[in-house]
């Protein structure tokens, strides 16, 4: 059974988030899910656009919805939590506030686009766990990750404010996914706490402190791996570990990866294919040391 979704990659996927893209495509291809790229998509506007002009922010994101509206499959999916939130919010606000919705629709119409409202924005995690299903995932597992102790990190915009398939404060979706891969999820009280997001660029002391707390707590709870869902969260948690060590004088280093990379590893895929070499915290021996050795031992 092939399932098809309209795919919105998002800007960061083209740069720092390349590995997220690579592993997502590889894993979904393996599971027989087709991702049909949205042609000529534009930036969703992220948090910054909303700060400057709300109408433009909604119109900007709505262009993508209008493009998706013409696609055969009205389910629009994206690997980036920020994009997921913005597209979702745009759609809901257009419905909830007809005044705004009408204006945005007029703007779209002026540019020759039409938005009917049939598009449904889905998170890739939702598709993996609910549409594909954990049973199907389990079938593809060739390398159960017995020794991996996972701190599942959902971040904020995946779950808030629109998550409808799990609890927003203490979700369990990744925990269940990790179990399906043979790994052990640990209790992780900070699983939905913000990593600082784009504040990393503007207020590094603040954002790094937030990441410090997350990394530290993951180790404290006995994890040897943080799984993240969003390219930005992953970037913050993965790339700044040396800075955090310097700033707070504590070694909080821990391997981090996208959940899709872990799924790929369990499926027996090559780390290179999954873009693992692009992660700052990736160390080629990790798999050998933490997972395979443990599994055979």
């Amino acid at each position: 059974m092939t399932k098809r979704y309209t795919y919105f990659p998002g800007c960061s996927i083209l740069g720092t988030g390349r590995a997220c893209e690579e592993s997502t495509r590889a894993v979904f291809a393996e599971l027989g899910v087709e991702l049909d790229d949205l042609e000529d998509w534009n930036c969703c506007g992220a948090t910054a656009y909303m700060s400057v002009d709300e109408h433009k922010a909604l119109a900007l994101a709505a262009r993508n919805l209008a493009l998706a509206d013409t696609k055969e499959c009205p389910e629009l999916t994206t690997p980036c939590s920020g994009c997921y939130l913005v597209l979702n919010k745009t759609q809901r606000y257009m419905e909830e506030y007809p005044r705004v919705g009408d204006k945005v629709k007029c703007a779209l119409k002026d540019a020759g686009l039409n938005y009917t409202g049939r598009v449904r924005v889905r998170h890739m995690l939702d598709i993996l766990v609910h549409d594909v299903g954990l049973d199907e995932v389990r079938k593809h597992v060739k390398r159960p990750l017995k020794n991996a102790k996972i701190a599942p990190y959902y971040g904020c915009q995946t779950v808030r404010p629109y998550l409808d398939f799990d609890h927003q404060h203490y979700p369990m979706t990744i925990d269940r996914l990790a179990e399906a891969l043979g790994a052990t999820p640990v209790h992780f009280p900070l699983k939905t706490r913000c990593c600082g997001g784009s504040q990393m660029g503007t207020l590094p002391n603040v954002a790094q402190r937030l990441c410090y707390a997350i990394l530290r707590e993951a180790r404290r709870q006995g994890a040897n791996l943080i799984l993240s869902v969003c390219p930005l969260c992953h970037f913050n948690l993965d790339s700044y570990q040396p800075d955090i060590r310097r700033r707070f004088g504590e070694d909080v280093s821990i391997t981090t990866m996208y959940y899709t990379q872990l799924v790929g590893l369990a499926f027996g895929m090559d780390p290179e294919t999954l873009g693992l070499h692009r992660n700052m915290t990736w160390d080629g021996s990790w798999l050998e040391r933490e997972v395979l050795a443990g599994a055979t031992a």
């Binding site: 609890h167 404060h169 009280p189 707390a213």
Partner: protein
């Protein structure tokens, strides 16, 4: 039952030949009406209408002088119809009918026009509001000309009362009524009466022991000759109406003969399960019970119950049943089956109580995730000396807590869960703070949004807690977590909160968190509501007839409500309301009869073709087919006057008193006469 005929014998198509003389009165209601509606214009227009002899305006028509005008005009101007334009008929229709009757004419020669609630209070344009008032007056004048004299019906009232729910409300009401000599049926779903109150240790603000004040009342219920107590039973069907409700009660088998069991509890010790193994509902799961159990030692009736879900005899059929053999009175009876009882009562008091908020709906407070997060009800059981821990406050790992955080408003004042204030949580949280300090000496923090202590001695109690050193942090706890940032937080739960009065975000490490859960409508409240035809608010609490003036009556005559099924309240208020409900029920049945509005439907046998279309439409089965005459007949005693059959009769052969077709047609005609 006596049904008094409701027609005057003049026939239903208008009183014979009398001249119609209408008096019209418009009320200023101080400035409530007159500030927007031009009452003088209304009176002037009314004066021009057919049959109107007198048209007056007055400042307060409902006052004694206002009513006196009507009576005087009836006498002096030989009026025989009265129309008053004032407030809602729901408020003063009966007042004016009384005046009309005292004036010497039938009280149903009266029609009221609502120009306040439906007029001056909801409109802003004086001309439009006046025009509307005039139209409605015109309709009333046209209608009242077609009114006929009617009599209220009297019906005998059964002298028994049904009380649904055996908590403190049901118990209070039952004892009040039984002491007054009335027969009471008390039906309780659980194996024992006592309700939530039986689970509490001490009661605020006096800190008297709940059991000490409740258990004597429970025994009194059991011993009262006028009370029939059916526990482990549920109402399944209700028919009839005020004065004569027919109620079906399902009595679940407890596999113990109630007559012979004396409550020696030998059977429990004899059970093949040597140690209690199953979750004990009464102790909120903190303790364990056996398949054969008694909820708590002072349970009433003091009978054991066998739970077929856990009993081996039922599960496997292979138990030697030592319980059966040990009982020298042979009270254990595995062959027992469900029984149904049918009773007739004159009035009903519904006192089905509440359900504590399910804290798993708010995972942000970590219940179920962290061992040391408790609900208030669990802690209540824990501090009780007869509870599962014998009154010892220990955490699940056996430690005695040194610091405790009590979080208010869990499932209250929160639009995501329950919007309303549960009213008792502030006070019981303070009480628990006191008890917990008393038992453990721990530091206690209260996290509250607003401290609500209105009640006799309540604020004093709050002050006493402040004096005792309970720390009050004004802020809704944002989360409970075990994530730590500093050594002193290690191994503790951290409550993260903004102390809004200090304007700092604080992290308070505690050993134990208590969630002060709010109140929700009880499980099954919706079925009860449907059975007894009670309205409910959007939250699901039963709706009283009037929030101020009829707080224990419901929209259904003869059905009263008491306690938390009507809304969250504390024990004193519950008891007061239960007393009020008992008094109302008593007033109803002690009178011996009820008077009912005469707006019943009737069929003219000459007109009816016997098509039977109306028969299935009557929700009260008041219409029957007379096999002799081959016509439909309405039993007036059963008719409640909805008029559904009237609207449906395809040959127009059913009429409704006070809502005759021609009366309504003339209203339609008149409200549109100026279109």
């Amino acid at each position: 039952m006596t049904g008094i005929p409701n027609t005057d014998g003049n026939g239903r198509r208008g009183a014979a030949g009398e001249e119609i003389r209408i008096g019209f009165y418009v009320c200023h209601c101080g400035m409530n009406i007159a500030s927007l509606v031009d009452v003088a214009a209304v009176a002037k227009e009314a004066a021009k209408l057919p049959h109107v002899i007198v048209s007056r305006e007055y400042k307060y028509m409902c006052s004694d002088p206002g009513q006196e005008f009507i009576m005087q005009d009836i006498r002096e101007n030989r009026l025989n119809r009265i129309v008053v334009a004032a407030c809602s008929p729901n408020l003063h229709e009966s007042t004016f009918r009384g005046a009309v009757a005292r004036g010497g004419i039938n009280p149903y020669f009266f029609q009221m026009v609502n120009i306040r609630e439906h007029g001056s209070w909801v409109h802003t344009d004086a001309a439009a509001a006046t025009a509307k008032a005039i139209d409605q007056v015109r309709a009333a004048v046209a209608r009242v000309a077609k009114h006929r004299p009617l009599e209220r019906r009297r019906m005998e009232v059964n002298q028994a009362v049904l009380i649904v729910g055996g908590g403190i409300a049901g118990i209070t009401a039952a004892l009040n009524l039984a002491d007054a000599g009335k027969k009471v049926y008390l039906v309780e779903r659980e194996p024992t009466i006592g309700g939530h109150m039986a689970k509490y240790d001490k009661t605020f603000p006096t800190l008297d022991c709940a059991a000490c004040i409740l258990t004597p009342k429970m025994s009194a219920v059991r011993e009262h000759p006028n009370i029939t107590l059916w526990t482990y039973s549920e109402v399944t069907k209700v028919d009839g109406h005020v004065g004569k409700f027919k109620v079906t009660v399902r009595r679940k088998p407890r596999y113990i003969d109630e007559e012979t069991c004396v409550g020696c509890l030998e059977c429990i010790s004899a059970c093949v399960f040597k140690t209690p193994k199953f979750e004990d509902e009464f102790n909120e799961g903190l303790g364990k019970r056996k398949p054969i159990y008694i909820p708590f030692p002072q349970a009433v009736p003091p009978l054991v119950t066998i739970d077929p879900e856990t009993c081996l005899k039922f599960k496997t059929g292979k138990c030697k049943s030592p319980c059966e053999t040990v009982c020298d009175r042979k009270a254990v009876d595995f062959s027992q089956t469900e029984k149904t009882e049918e009773i007739e009562v004159g009035a009903v008091i519904v006192a089905t109580g509440f359900k504590a908020f399910d804290v798993t709906r708010l995972p942000i407070y970590g219940y179920g995730l962290y061992d040391n997060v408790y609900t208030a009800l669990e802690v209540e059981r824990m501090v009780t000396s007869s509870g599962p821990t014998g009154g010892e406050i220990t955490l699940r790992d056996g430690r005695v807590p040194k610091s405790i955080g009590i979080i208010h408003c869990v499932g209250s004042r929160d639009k995501k869960t329950n919007r309303w204030c549960s009213r008792v949580c502030c006070m019981y949280s303070l009480k628990l703070a006191h008890l917990l300090r008393e038992h453990t000496g721990a530091d206690v923090y209260q996290f509250y949004i607003d401290m609500r202590c209105p009640g006799k001695g309540y604020d004093e109690f709050y002050e006493r807690m402040l004096d005792e050193g309970v720390q009050m942090i004004r802020g809704r706890a944002a989360e409970v977590t075990d994530w730590t940032m500093s050594p002193e937080e290690e191994g503790k739960l951290v409550v993260r909160v903004e102390d809004t009065l200090a304007a700092y975000v604080r992290r308070i490490p505690v050993d134990m968190v208590v969630l002060s859960t709010g109140m929700e409508p009880a499980v099954g409240a919706d079925e009860i509501r449907r059975m007894f035809n009670i309205s409910c608010s959007t939250e699901g609490f039963f709706l009283e007839k009037h929030p101020k003036l009829a707080p224990v009556e419901t929209a259904t005559a003869g059905v009263f409500i008491a306690g938390c099924c009507q809304g969250p309240k504390d024990i004193p208020d519950t008891v007061a309301q239960a007393g009020a409900a008992a008094a109302q029920a008593l007033a109803l049945i002690d009178k011996g009869y009820v008077e009912m509005e005469p707006n019943t439907s009737y069929i003219d046998p000459d007109d009816c073709s016997g098509c039977k279309s109306c028969i299935p439409l009557c929700p009260y089965h008041a219409i029957a087919f007379d096999e002799g005459s081959k016509k439909a007949v309405i039993n007036e005693a059963l008719c409640t006057g909805c008029g559904t059959c009237v609207a449906s009769c395809p040959s127009g052969s059913i009429s409704q008193n006070l809502f005759e077709d021609d009366q309504i047609f003339s209203e339609i005609e008149e409200v549109l006469s100026h279109v």
